[in-house]
Amino acid sequence: MSYRNRELASLVVVGLMTGFGFASVYIARQDVVSASSLSYGIFFLCLYLAAHAVTRLTVPNADPYILPLGGLLTAIGVTEIYRINPQDALHQTIWIVIGVVAFALTLFLFRRDYRKLESYKYLCGLGAVGLLMLPALPVIGERINGARLWIHFGGFQIQPGEFAKILLIVFLAGYLREKREVLAQGRLKDLGPLLLIWGAAMLVLLETSDLGSALLYFGIFLAMTYVATGSKKYPIGGGVLFLLGSFAAYHLVGRVRERVTIWLHPWTNHFVYCSQTGKVNHLRQDCDSYQLVKSLYSIGNGHFGGTGFGKGTFTDTAGNPLIPYLKTDFIFSALAQELGLIGVAAFLLVYMVFALRGFRIGMIAEDGFSKLLAVGLTFGFVLQTFIIVGGVLRIIPLTGITLPFVSYGGSSIVANFVVLAGLLLVSDRAQARNA
């Protein structure tokens, strides 16, 4: 079967699964959900078919699995959001449509040769820094849940960081391909860019009080530098520098210290300082670590088999929410409760397969820029997943970033569809030679 026919068959399966997901929510929650929810399955099947038509036109030789995998993750996310609040699912669906449009535009725009981006690498780098600085600006910048990551733009909330990430990867792919030999020698003066980026990542951390994004940018940077230069000095040295920076941030930035304390000691049996009241008058689980702890309770309640789609406990018997930020930062906790260990393992497996396809694209790509681009996009995807889910699972301190394709949030959805388009472009070029 040709690549595109394989993609089509997989998408039909994903469309059917989406239908089953919505049907399952409908059966579990007939009291509040109307039968029209079943049309979501058909709608998504049509949307995926449209995306497929675009790939058939623009990237006929591209990897056949990553679009269905991304589509599956998107469908799981929107089903869970629908289960939490049907109104939000409608908004999310609109964003997914916009995401597919952005996906199509990216494919059409760069179908001839995406490598022309290499000549605009500095522009991309500047663009990335510019986007990152946007939330810090007055008026349009906005602080939500303690972190300054959003801007207001005519009624919309946009998280420029999601797009800055892609531009940064494009910049790094171009820059590292050009400078890889020089950097591989590891002379001190060549370390300049590394220190510059490290400094920038730390600045972002200080500015937005967001350890997660800093870790994400820096991790992508180190992985790409390693792939470009083959020198282990970069990831090791960079890792040490990051640890030192984080250590300093722990002592200098109250918010970072608070996050780490929550991570290490979410439960106390005596009153501790509560940042909301400013007094020593709460157990930590009732104040600073409230979100983390409630989310862990949600995960724990899933056990092996989960409660089933639509049957999880997210509200008390009066209908008040029990888990904060459920549809965004803690969408994983919602899924973990309803799908259980079996379902979550399968869910994470989808991320793994997606990542493996991404890395494979990096391997079959022929030129350095394409390889670095594919690895950067894929590793960014993996690391972002690790940072948010790892935070929710208390593997690392919790920082609110989105779960790719799944969390509620327009910027994230659109950016991830662009990432998907990028990977398809790279794989199309690589496989067109062999085809």
Partner: protein, 495 residues
């Protein structure tokens, strides 16, 4: 470059695999820990999505059932207690605001079908896979609601407790405590429960006084002392004592019970049996001095003192009886650590639950063999059919059958012509013992009566304790309540 991409891919896979491991930790390893956290509201609410098993009395009357409500597309099974305060301190409550208590707490696993029994695991897993509501197992108690109601009525307004046991099996037939509470108010109107008033300083309606109320047993403890005295062979029922109205301990007189005028009673030359019949402190004081405190406590332990009664209610709602020092059980190692005279007639630092005293009476009636009391008759599957039924269990022999028979005769005399005549029932031989324990406030007593009947063929044992009785004796206020319970229970064929 590809080998380096492979390294990065491996790193990526390790990161994602760590997430699978992390999820496994929280969902398979630590989930029990999470579920037991006090602030885990999800766990509490999630249990309301289970069709919780009902709780029934011995005759099948429903004591706890579910009220089905629909909120935001969720179906919740909220608890309702149709009989209100009846047996509330045993049944307990299951709420969102204040978690659970009583049998509702202790048998939560069974009631929510999360117990590890194979049949339950299989059905609830199948139900959950099919998307059906999980149905809990139901529970049948041993309580007899008629006598239970009579006991609660008799205790109303006072602070105290009444317990009745089926002697051969150990079934708890009545377990009343006062003041009690209406479990339907716990969720939303807890303040009303907190304001409950009764004739004592700390009414504590949520306290099951039958299993967790610690009282000085007063003269009812003379049963234990007498058991030790006879069973150890140191004395016989006919052993003679001279009672000048007091006994001398540590060079000071310990007087008998003071009559209303404040004058100690004097009985002169009496036997050990008469000492029990008329509850003469000096006689038991001298027995205590002779036996030593450790010997008496050894016998007390044989009757179940110094261990929690092992009833099915939550362990936190039960206290062990024994000597208490600063709120903790006190285990003396030497005779000199305890005043043997005062111990012998139930003062010293003794703290005893009504259930424990009922067990003492039951053991004497049972020929000296102590039986494990139990309040859960059986656990029933949601579709009917018994999942498990409690089998009576003996805990061991406290005294020889001969000692038991001698004690029975002595206790009969208490009722026929001693301090406990108020417990007489026409046509039924009742064996009993009164107690009027002094408290820290002079004139304010804890009134006790423990008994069993019929004395010639013992079936029912009863213990009644009433707090805060001003110048009232156990024979005056507790014995009539015990009599009412005996009469009601002896009429029931099953008991």
């Amino acid at each position: 470059m590809n080998d380096r991409i492979r390294v990065i891919a491996v790193v990526g896979m390790i990161l994602l695999a760590a997430l699978v491991l992390g999820t496994t930790y929280w969902q398979a390893w630590a989930e029990g820990d999470l579920a037991s956290k006090q602030d885990n509201a999800i766990q509490r609410v999630a249990q309301f999505t289970i069709d919780r098993g009902v709780i029934r009395a011995a005759d099948g009357t429903v004591l706890a059932l579910n009220r089905v409500v629909h909120v935001n597309g969720n179906t919740y099974y909220l608890r309702h207690y149709p009989t209100g305060p009846l047996a509330a301190d045993v049944v307990g409550y299951s709420t969102e605001a204040r978690s659970r208590a009583g049998i509702e707490q202790a048998f939560n696993d069974f009631l929510t079908a999360s117990n590890s029994d194979l049949h339950t695991v299989l059905t609830s897993t199948l139900n959950s896979l099919e998307g059906k509501t999980i149905k809990g197992n139901s529970i049948k108690l041993t309580l007899h609601l008629g006598p239970q109601f009579l006991a609660e009525k008799a205790l109303a307004g006072q602070c105290g407790s009444a317990v009745a046991l089926d002697i051969p099996s150990g079934r708890v037939l009545v377990m009343a405590t006062s003041p009690t509470y209406n479990p339907n108010l716990v969720e939303k109107h807890y303040d009303q429960i907190a304001r409950t008033k009764a004739a004592c300083s700390g009414p504590a309606p949520l306290l099951n006084r039958a299993t967790a109320g610690l009282y000085a047993p007063g003269s009812t403890f003379k049963l234990v002392t007498a058991a030790a005295a006879l069973d150890s062979g140191t004395f016989t029922p006919d052993s003679r004592f001279n009672d000048p109205g007091y006994c001398t301990e540590y060079g000071k007189p310990v007087t008998n019970f003071l009559e209303n005028g404040g004058v100690p009673e004097k009985f002169g030359n009496v036997t050990l049996a008469q000492g029990l019949q008329f509850s003469i402190n000096s006689v038991y004081c001298n027995i205590g001095i002779k036996l030593g405190a450790l010997k008496i406590l050894e016998y007390a332990k044989r009757f179940g003192f110094y261990s929690t009664p092992g009833l099915e209610t939550p362990p936190a709602e039960q206290r062990a009886s024994g000597l208490y020092d600063h709120g903790k059980l006190f285990y003396p190692k030497h005779d000199y650590q305890v005043d043997p005279g005062r111990l012998a007639f139930g003062q010293e630092r003794l703290g005893v639950t009504p259930l424990q005293m009922a067990m003492v009476a039951a053991a004497i009636g049972n020929g000296g063999v102590v039986v494990q009391p139990y309040v859960v008759d059986s656990i029933l599957k949601p579709g009917g059919g018994v999942l498990q039924a409690t089998k009576p269990k003996t805990l061991g022999r406290a005294i020889s059958p001969q000692t038991a028979s001698e004690l029975t005769t002595m206790m009969e005399a208490v009722v026929t012509g001693g301090t406990g005549t108020a417990a007489q029932i026409p046509g039924v031989l009742v064996a009993g013992k009164t107690g009027t324990a002094e408290t820290s406030v002079p004139g304010v007593n804890t009134a006790w009566f423990v008994c069993f009947a019929p004395a010639d063929h013992p079936r029912i044992a009863v213990a009644v304790a009433l707090e805060n009785q001003l110048h009232k004796t156990g024979g005056e206020v507790a014995a009539p309540i015990a009599k009412t319970l005996l009469e009601a229970l002896l009429k029931q064929p099953t008991a």
